[in-house]
Symmetry: C2
Subunit: 321 residues, 2 copies
Amino acid sequence: MGKIVECVPNFSEGRDHNIIEAIIAPLKNKSGFKLVSYEPDIDYNRTVVTLIGDAEAIIEAIPEFVGWAVKLIDLNHHTGQHPRMGAVDVIPFIPLEDTTVEECVGFANTLAQIISSRFSIPVFMYALAARQPERVSLPNIRKGEFEGMKTKILDPLWLPDYGKPEIHPTFGAVAIGARILLVAYNIDIATKDEKVAERLARTIRQSSGGFQHIQAGPAYLEQRGHVQVTMNVLDYKKNPLYRIWETIKMEALRYHVEVTSAEIIGLIPKEALTDSLKYYYATQDRKFLSTISLDDIVSEATKYMQFRDLSTNKIIEKYLE
Amino acid sequence: MGKIVECVPNFSEGRDHNIIEAIIAPLKNKSGFKLVSYEPDIDYNRTVVTLIGDAEAIIEAIPEFVGWAVKLIDLNHHTGQHPRMGAVDVIPFIPLEDTTVEECVGFANTLAQIISSRFSIPVFMYALAARQPERVSLPNIRKGEFEGMKTKILDPLWLPDYGKPEIHPTFGAVAIGARILLVAYNIDIATKDEKVAERLARTIRQSSGGFQHIQAGPAYLEQRGHVQVTMNVLDYKKNPLYRIWETIKMEALRYHVEVTSAEIIGLIPKEALTDSLKYYYATQDRKFLSTISLDDIVSEATKYMQFRDLSTNKIIEKYLE
């Protein structure tokens, strides 16, 4: 078995089922990696694909996937709420297991070389694979989007890292990079008052003096009719979920609002859940067994931290067997 | 009324009552500032003096205080557990009320100029008044102490900021600087196990991923027979005491140890206590009145956060009337 990574290509079609299926097809039932999920969003007109497995197998499969996007998507006729500059817009590699972030930077460069030479698509290296500080931030690269990139790419500051300074006429350009694993964790608050969520977010986020590895802000969930504290946990080992959950509950007491439930967006490593179970078990003098099954992790974590939709499908280790 | 500051000179005598009183005398009963306290420590052989009031009045009085230290202390015959390089070892200015830290840097330089020219004492500017990055840290300047400073000061890297590169033969050298107000806050844990205090400290300190403005470590209190989490709260507005207290209590549950009490070392601004009272009042739907007296702040804060020795003498505002 080679180097294990998560890879999350985003492509700019979230409405036409036939097109989505055709583009996705080369990623299905491959040996060496698993297609964990693909989630089209109608408003965004965009699909997020999650792959887990051997980096070399993923790098071998992605060009065919990109080839179908080249054939089937024309950004000159694309609308949607999410900013985009490419038919395949961004491809990040995330280290899992014993893989390092430096190795992921290597995989990103290998893939960038293939994509740019095979399809004449300009590639920007971003996040931890960025070669210039202005390119660490994806929104910074993507500013101006497909339409603006035609001229932006001529600016000496914005020459692509691979390929010629000229967008592909229908595909545009793509960002390829490496980033660390983060946990997207949201806590539901039983109120419609977004100010309460903003104040709670401030108590725990790094930028307001809170925990070191937390980004947090308020969100209003129209359909569910309540607010959330929506978070990225950038280091789940140093800022474990139970501590965030308990701190938010403690702070919420002053606003007399109920902290009702929580959700994980995307995937979560098993350890991020078991670390928190260990806390709750210790408070109750329960013995924690490292042989606990994924099913039991889900039911126990749901009991202690009120997840409303946790399942083993969200646990990375499920895809590593 | 001029610019209000706290000034905390430390001098290197903590045993001989007569010498301590003679050195302190010029700081007693002066108009413009108050001598809040002076606390000799026998083991350290050192006395910490706390002054609060008008910066200009303090700057006018300190040279006479330094003059007595020059006459009465000879570091060639000084022993004690605390590192020291001068008979008066360090003089920090701390902004209070509407004073800025930049103004305190100015006061530190004014005093440094006077001390070095009047007594031929070399002065190092430190903390926020440092002129070189190596001089931000006082322990870094003081390394080698009185004995080592004789040669260290000849090193081009360690030329003093004021005065000649030559220590005063009996006094040594002094560090003068500016720093922000911090709250020294300790939480008592009913165990002798220092590892528990270390683990609790790690959950909240910035350097281990915790709150942004907290330095924390474990301590064992020999005489009291239990451990503490000992902390510097560098920004009490962003990391309020109630949040630290409640987080430590939550974390302590996993070790089945009781969080029994807490203490403030030195002074605390009123707002650091009332901010926490506002939290507890809100959780109980009690109305907080901003007209609350200092006595009531002490008794209420003691009730909610178990201070074991809080009194109005510890509240800065007592000295600002």
